[in-house]
Subunit: 118 residues, 2 copies
DNA sequence: TTGATGTATGCCTATATAGGCATATAATGT
DNA sequence: ACATTATATGCCTATATAGGCATACATCAA
């Protein structure tokens, strides 16, 4: 078996480095497909395919202008990733480390208090 | 071709839902492998394999105690994901939306000013 | 040593999928 | 209508990998 389809799980869609690159480029503003081709060093069909995956998970939106299709990032689709990973932010954020220190102090005080209702 | 190895790219390692589940469980505290088996509904060998992948990208640490191996989350490994996805936070965060409003206002004022150094 | 328990590894199969390449589709200009 | 440009789709191959299952390895108990 392989894994949950890239077109269904945004975590998986974005696990492909090329697709992250595409989002990063599009972060700078709306662009047609052919703009991405030289920037990524990929053939046009592959770029279109990556864009399709990103579109299916909602990470990009499209707009037709003449014969061009202008793609743009839709960051909302990435929120689940942010939400999930943020629960681990405690590990590296100074802000949380300081919070942990305070909580630790409170805990110690409680223990000195003699109550052991854990 | 497939994609960057799960054992090399933390984005890819975590693109597998089972592995996110494992991290979520371990977030509650250190646990031996066999604790995860019933919780995930996976066979023990598959759990060990997922843990191996997580260990290779540094997302978990191990500690031997007797014949058990206690695994725990190492959130630091997830920071690159947080950093990357945070650049898109503008899309959904009220905080950034308000900032955008202010910037928009400043821009309008500048235009009314007659200067067009854009 | 022997047996039991906890975990890791190896082999196998099915499957998803990235990229190569040809071609289809669509819009525009002449 | 025809050519040109922009993009999407289809077919192909190679490859990574998730899970099934047997088994190796390691640690502890008797």
């Amino acid at each position: 078996m392989a894994r949950v389809a890239t077109t269904v799980d945004v975590f998986n869609a974005v696990a492909e480095p090329r697709r992250r690159e595409i989002l990063d480029v599009l972060g700078g503003g709306e662009r047609p497909v052919n703009d991405l081709v030289p920037l990524l060093g990929l053939a046009q069909p592959q770029v279109s395919k990556h864009l399709r995956v990103l579109r299916e998970v909602g990470a990009v939106d499209v707009r037709d202008v003449g014969r061009q299709r202008l793609y743009r990032v839709n960051g909302h689709a990435l929120k689940p990733i942010h939400d999930w990973v943020s629960t681990y932010e405690r590990s590296w954020s100074e802000r949380f480390e300081q919070l942990d220190e305070v909580l630790e102090e409170l805990k110690q005080e409680e223990q000195g208090d003699g109550s052991d209702d854990d």
